[in-house]
Symmetry: C2
Subunit: 316 residues, 2 copies
């Protein structure tokens, strides 16, 4: 039997057909039309799922369940997207809506970062831990929290929004309405903003050359320029990592997990990101010089497929 995992993100809707061992049979994706009505994204999701089943030559009877990971406040018990500012959904009973298309197929939803946490626990790096905080550095910053092997979601699944905790009072505006959230400083979106600001200030930096080569500024621009020795880019990276560090040390002091797992697009930078974060953690985590247990910082192992595998794990 197979499961289908669909990850609805701010940039794309990605789906895959997944075996119970975590092997992905096939996958596909479409751009997220965030400016449109929820109906358009739902219709695109339905087409994506049908295409996947065709591609894998599977009928609905061969599918055990469908899991959807969605950014924002997702009431997993009621099957409702309560509020998702990245894709502009408010109070959408998506499980009920999808039931119209797939008959008796069980449909499960969850916050995308929570789903990623579940996926890492089931299929990835977190298999060996009981207590972990997952931090996804993507369009936004999501956090998924595992306590004693179980997902922690708060009342009405509305908690675990670590991306929406202020780390710079009165700082940059955040999509949630507050100012200075972790997300507003540590998302890939924030990194692009920080990179662009540095490029304006240092027009001769390698960052401009790389951005021209790639056709645009993205989350990799400053990392690539820094790796080639560009000083202004290294400053961007140091500052960005400093912000990520503040956020993850905060989460470590609150949850004191065994590990903080870093996922999302920016985590593909690997050691250039993870090693300085571990250094910050080892320097600043509460009581760390006085006998409190160390908190590890590791790259989430599922990276590119984390969304699909996480979503799929909701249906297991």
């Amino acid at each position: 039997m197979y499961i289908i995992g669909v990850d609805i993100g701010g940039m794309s809707v990605k789906g895959g057909i997944v075996g119970e061992d975590g092997k992905i049979l096939c996958k596909a994706g479409v751009e997220t039309k965030t400016a449109s009505e929820p109906d358009v994204i739902i219709a695109d999701t339905v087409s994506l799922i049908n295409n996947l089943m065709q591609k894998a030559r599977l009928k609905i009877g061969g599918i055990k369940g469908l899991g959807l990971g969605i950014p924002g406040a997702i009431d997993s018990k009621r099957g409702v997207i309560v509020y998702s500012n990245n894709i502009n959904f408010i109070n959408v009973p998506i499980v009920e809506r999808l039931r119209g298309y797939f008959g008796e197929l069980p449909v499960f939803i969850g916050n995308d970062a929570n789903a990623a946490a579940l996926g890492e626990m089931r299929f990835g790096a977190a298999r060996k831990y009981l207590n972990a905080v997952f931090v996804t550095l993507g369009t936004g910053v999501g956090t998924g929290i595992v306590i004693d092997g179980k997902l922690f979601e708060g009342v009405s699944s509305a908690g675990a929004e670590g991306g929406h905790t202020v780390i710079v009072a009165d700082g940059e505006p955040c999509s949630c309405g507050r100012r200075g959230c972790f997300e507003a400083y540590a998302s890939a979106t924030a990194l692009v903003r920080q990179t662009k600001a540095a490029m304006e200030k240092h027009p001769d930096s390698l960052m401009s050359v790389i951005a021209r080569e790639k056709g645009r500024v993205n989350g990799r621009t400053a990392f690539l320029a820094a790796a080639r020795g560009d000083v202004a880019a290294q400053e961007v990276i140091n500052r960005y990592i400093g912000y990520v560090g503040e956020g993850i040390v905060n989460l470590a002091n609150i949850f004191r997990p065994e590990v903080i797992l870093i996922g999302g697009g920016v985590s593909n930078e690997g050691d250039a990101l993870i090693l300085p974060l571990q250094k910050i953690m080892d320097e600043r985590c509460y009581g760390i010089h006085n006998g409190n247990p160390r908190v590890l910082v590791e790259k989430a192992s599922l990276t590119n497929d984390a969304g699909i595998l996480g979503a799929a794990s909701l249906a297991l």
Copy 2:
């Protein structure tokens, strides 16, 4: 049968003999000699307990257990104060040390804010909730977290340090070694610092008059002056409450509890503190305008005796 609760704080060691119904038979306190060796504080604690038993005419056989609430990283399972920066204890096996004085009496320890959370759950306002975050605004800022009716402490009881989460990156130095922690802005200590700074800037403010009347600046100075219409004092209060608000909305977004309970010395200001905090919570909590459940802000009900009752509840 009775229990003894002892609350070791940065300013004083307070103890009480408590009935299983939460009634306090008698209580006493001594100043905390923080500059001395841990031995001095332990000896003072032992005298305090002996005095309490004499006062209540109770012998060790009439006592069911002894609970101690202590600030910092307390490994409740091992009975060790791992690290307490407020009272300068590092790796002190206090349960073993006290056993030498009280024979077979069961001794339990816990972080003071966690103990306060337990106390409120057992004896106070939180009895009607299953999910609560307790925030103590005292010498430091402690947080105690109750999830589904149980204390959450993290690995080695080293979590739940919400006071040590940065809300102002690169801000005021904190006793934990970081800069800009919630504690460095929202403790009574921070409020005194903010009040003094405003008094220097506005020497004609009522705050100076009140401080002279009372003999010193304390956490009440600005609240008292603001209540009498002093504009500079009101600015101090608004800014202070703004910082407390950032911290509690952060905790609400992470835990999404039913209630945030405010305790500690500053909570005695009552509605002047709680009502503006509820307003901030209702305005800024994640997804609150889009269907996410409301998080209540309430004054912890045990206030002055919270430390003693919390510590006592550790022994129940």
